[in-house]
C-alpha cells in the first residue's frame, strides 16, 4: 500500500482528503487505483487517457519525468505526490 498526496485544488474530488492509500506496483497502476476510488479525478488530471502535462508527479522526492515516467515503480512505503503549479501570491 502506497500513499498519494492530493494537491489542494483536487481535494474537492477526494471528499476533502489530503492523502489516499492505493495499491499498484507502478505510478500508472497506483493512479488507476486512485481513479477507481475517486472517479471524478480522472477527468481533471488526464487528457485522452494520459496524465496532463501540467501535473508534476513525484515518487518520494523524485520527479518521474527523470525516471521511468508512469512506469516508475512504486514501493509499499513510497509516497506519490501530485503537484500542479500554484499561481496565488499577491492579491
Amino acid at each position: 500500500m502506497s500513499t498519494i498526496r492530493i494537491p489542494p485544488v483536487l481535494r474537492e474530488n477526494t471528499d476533502g482528503r489530503r492523502t489516499v492509500d492505493v495499491t499498484g506496483a507502478t505510478v500508472s497502476a497506483a493512479l488507476d487505483d486512485l481513479f477507481a476510488q475517486h472517479p471524478a479525478l480522472r477527468d481533471r488530471v488526464t487528457t485522452d487517457g494520459k496524465l496532463s502535462e501540467f501535473i508534476n508527479v513525484y515518487v518520494n522526492d523524485r520527479d518521474v519525468r527523470y525516471r521511468d515516467g508512469l512506469d516508475t515503480t512504486v514501493g509499499a512505503d513510497d509516497t506519490i505526490i501530485l503537484l500542479p503549479a500554484m499561481a496565488g501570491g499577491s492579491r
Binding site: F54, I55, N56, Y58, I81, P84, M86, G89, R91
Partner: protein
C-alpha cells in the same frame, strides 16, 4: 635574555629584512592607521595570545606601539618567556612613516555608529558580521507584488537592513487585503499599495531606499523593472506574469525567489539562472484556470503568506550573503493544516526552452 630597542629607521630596515611586526596598541588605534603587514596584539592580550601569534620563540619579532612604552614592556615579558629575537621600536609611530615605513591609512568604517547599533544582533552572527551587513545595506531587492507575499518580505528585509527595496504593484489597498497584507492598514484604504508600502517601510527603517514601480509587470516592462536589482522576489498572482518574469530573469541572470500560496498550502523555491532549474523546467505547461484559481477566488489563510513570505526573505538573505544552502533545485511545500513541510527535487531540464540546451540566453548579457 634581553631585548633590543631601536629607532624608527632601524625598525623599518628590520621589517624589510624579515622581522615580524607586532602592534601592541588597541583596536581603535589600529583602526586609525597601522603598519602594513603588522599583526594587532594589544598589550593586555600578549601573554594569552603570543603562543598562537608567534609559536616559534626564535623568530625575529619587531614590536611597536605609539611611542615605545607598551612595546618595551611587551618585549621584556617575551624575553622572560624565552623569546630570543625581540626588538622594540622606541620612537613615536609618526617616525615610522617619516622613515619611509609602509603604512595603511584608516579604512572607511563598514558601518556607521548608528548602523552598528541598529544591526548589532545581526552583526554578532559569524556568517554575517559587519561585512555581511554591508552587503545587505548595499543590496537591491525587487518585490513583485506588494500584497500578501510581498508584505512580510518588505517588513523584514527593510527592518534587517536591506538597503534598497523596489515595489512593483499597481493595485490600491482594499479592505479584503488587510487580513494578510500586513504592509498596509485600515487607514490606507484606497491608497496605492506602493505608497502605503513606502510609508510602512519608512516607519520601520528610515534608512531603507524605497523605489516605487506603480505598474503591472508584463513582457514590455519586465527587463527595465528587474535590471537594476540583485534579487527578485516573486509573489505574483498569475501564471502569465510568472513565466514572463522567469524568462527575463534567466536572460538577465537574476535570481528569483519564488513563492505561491493557496488556502492552507504554500510552495517556495529559488531559481538561480543556469545554475539550477528555472520555473519552466519545473512547470513546462501552465494548468487551466479551473485548476489554478487565484486567492481572490479560492481564499487563503491569513498567516500562510507570512510563513511563505518569510521563507522567501530567508532565501534573499542567503543569496545576498553568499552563505548557507538555498532552495535552488528543491521545492519546499508547506501544509498549514497538517503543520508539515515536504520537499521534492527539481531538475534543470535540458529541453527547457528558457534555460536548456537550446536556450537563446546562453550568452551572458554582461
Amino acid at each position: 635574555m634581553t631585548f633590543r630597542e631601536v629607532n624608527a629607521t632601524e625598525a623599518v630596515a628590520l621589517a624589510a629584512d624579515g622581522h615580524r611586526v607586532i602592534d601592541v596598541r588597541e583596536q581603535n588605534e589600529w583602526d586609525a592607521g597601522h603598519v602594513v603587514g603588522a599583526t594587532l596584539l594589544p598589550l593586555a592580550d600578549v601573554a594569552q595570545r603570543i603562543a598562537e601569534v608567534a609559536p616559534d620563540k626564535d623568530a625575529p619579532l619587531l614590536l611597536h606601539c605609539a611611542v615605545g612604552g607598551r612595546s618595551g614592556r611587551a618585549a621584556a615579558w617575551l624575553s622572560q618567556m624565552g623569546y630570543t629575537n625581540v626588538v622594540s621600536m622606541k620612537a613615536p609611530i609618526g617616525d615610522w612613516k617619516t622613515a619611509g615605513g609602509a603604512w595603511n591609512e584608516p579604512q572607511e568604517p563598514l558601518l556607521t555608529p548608528a548602523q552598528q547599533r541598529r544591526y548589532a544582533r545581526q552583526t554578532l552572527i559569524p556568517e554575517i558580521g559587519q561585512e555581511g551587513q554591508r552587503k545587505l545595506l548595499d543590496a537591491k531587492v525587487l518585490l513583485i507584488g506588494a500584497g500578501a507575499l510581498g508584505s512580510p518580505s518588505a517588513l523584514y528585509l527593510s527592518a534587517s537592513g536591506v538597503g534598497t527595496i523596489g515595489l512593483v504593484d499597481d493595485d490600491l489597498v482594499e479592505e479584503s487585503n488587510l487580513q494578510r497584507q500586513v504592509l498596509h492598514g485600515a487607514d490606507r484604504l484606497g491608497m496605492r499599495k506602493v505608497d502605503s508600502g513606502e510609508l510602512t517601510i519608512r516607519g520601520l527603517n528610515p534608512e531603507t531606499v524605497v523605489v516605487k514601480h506603480a505598474e503591472r509587470l508584463d513582457a514590455g516592462n519586465v527587463e527595465r523593472l528587474i535590471s537594476g536589482y540583485d534579487v527578485i522576489v516573486d509573489g505574483t498572482d498569475n501564471f502569465d506574469t510568472r513565466y514572463v518574469l522567469n524568462d527575463a530573469a534567466v536572460k538577465l541572470r537574476k535570481p528569483v525567489v519564488h513563492g505561491s500560496i493557496y488556502r492552507w498550502d504554500g510552495q517556495i523555491t529559488t531559481f538561480v539562472p543556469f545554475e539550477g532549474p528555472c520555473y519552466r523546467c519545473m512547470y513546462p505547461t501552465q494548468p487551466p484556470d479551473e485548476l489554478a484559481p487565484a486567492c481572490s477566488v479560492a481564499g487563503v489563510l491569513g498567516v500562510l503568506p507570512g510563513v511563505i513570505g518569510l521563507l522567501q526573505s530567508n532565501e534573499v538573505f542567503k543569496l545576498i550573503l553568499g552563505a548557507g544552502d538555498t532552495l535552488a533545485g528543491r521545492l519546499l511545500m508547506f501544509d498549514a493544516m497538517g503543520t508539515s513541510f515536504d520537499e521534492v527535487r527539481i531538475w534543470r531540464d535540458p529541453a527547457c526552452p528558457t534555460c536548456g540546451e537550446g536556450s537563446p540566453y546562453h550568452e551572458d548579457p554582461t
